[in-house]
Symmetry: C2
Subunit: 211 residues, 2 copies
Amino acid sequence: MKKTRITDSHTRQKIFRAATEVFELKGYAGARMQEIADRAGINKALLHYYFRSKDQLFMAVFQVLLKKMFEKITAIFQADLSFKEKIRLFLDQHIDFLIKNPKLPMFLLNEMSVNPSITESIKETLHYGELRDMIYEKHSKELKGYGIRKSDMPQLMITVVSMSIFPFAAREMIAVMIPQMLDNRKFNSFMLERKEFAADFIFSALKHRKK
Amino acid sequence: MKKTRITDSHTRQKIFRAATEVFELKGYAGARMQEIADRAGINKALLHYYFRSKDQLFMAVFQVLLKKMFEKITAIFQADLSFKEKIRLFLDQHIDFLIKNPKLPMFLLNEMSVNPSITESIKETLHYGELRDMIYEKHSKELKGYGIRKSDMPQLMITVVSMSIFPFAAREMIAVMIPQMLDNRKFNSFMLERKEFAADFIFSALKHRKK
DNA sequence: TCATAGATTAACTGTTTAGTTTAACCAAAA
DNA sequence: TTTTGGTTAAACTAAACAGTTAATCTATGA
């Protein structure tokens, strides 16, 4: 078998994947280096050989996952579509994405909540600053037609994004009230139905909004 | 000074309050018994004198907080009001409640996500089972008028609840995109505005929903 | 007034955890 | 062939941590 540089080696990837799983499941404080090593099928010494410390390993994982999440959210709003088309596309693609990564929202949200400074080092990497204003400018006519002013955009966008993210983050809470939701098949089909429910809900709200 | 039974003593309350703060801030795995003792202004031994173990202390706190959250959510939907009035009242009171307990949603959601079995012992205590079906029966006429079938209720209720909860749970994520949101005053007034935004949004959506 | 029970403390114990060290092994590259 | 870098097992360290112990304090009721 070929041996290459440490960076991007096969083992490094195995470790990274294992670390991603464990951190997503348990969070930073609950994760154990030993468990990560076990899952990667390697020795704890080797783990520290590739990633000096738990912090470094965590930051590597966190950075990639946060980027992944933001990319999914922002990418769609870059496209050349009407605002409504973007929303429909977003709900469709983002819910598909979250069905494949159901623990991702809770992991990111919680780590940021528990340790807000965590994002400081990455804020430049995410350069969405452009996006924030751009979205409104691009669709100002369409949005004014719905009675949405520029100052309403945060309210609107948070509402849209919560449509897909919240049910995943709150899954266990929901399962307390609706026990069937513990079943993966049922929960996933609930989320697939939600694509249309959410789109209809948002469009109806936009269509007849009070000024 | 009078000495009374262990239950409900002053010290016990001090410990409980300190534990609540620390657990809400750091989560179970991140919390330290020493920090709880320090905040309560007592010795670590005394902490174990009142609550045998970290687990027992945590469960006591968790149970109270979960109940607090559920009570707020369900209480309003018991009242004798129209569905729309209930929603308006819910958003008003729940957002006020969360402004006073901003870390509560993330704490509960995360602990349940990381350790789903945590609710098992409390499920009976929460007896909302009644509520689930009752809400639709009570408002079936009104809701049918909006094109909401019984099977749509989970989608609708999750949407309503996410309106108030999500921004608090996702506050740090939001702050990455809207830096002003780091400021408490600005965030709180954003949430106060949200009462009306959310109510209007939901009512407009209900008024003209596709069947 | 003093015996007692509960409240509180300082110091200690035992365990878990991140991280290190060492010695040996192996495959490929030089 | 020698060197180099990846890999292992195992033992180890130091710090952090939950939990315990034994002694002290304090109010109070007999």
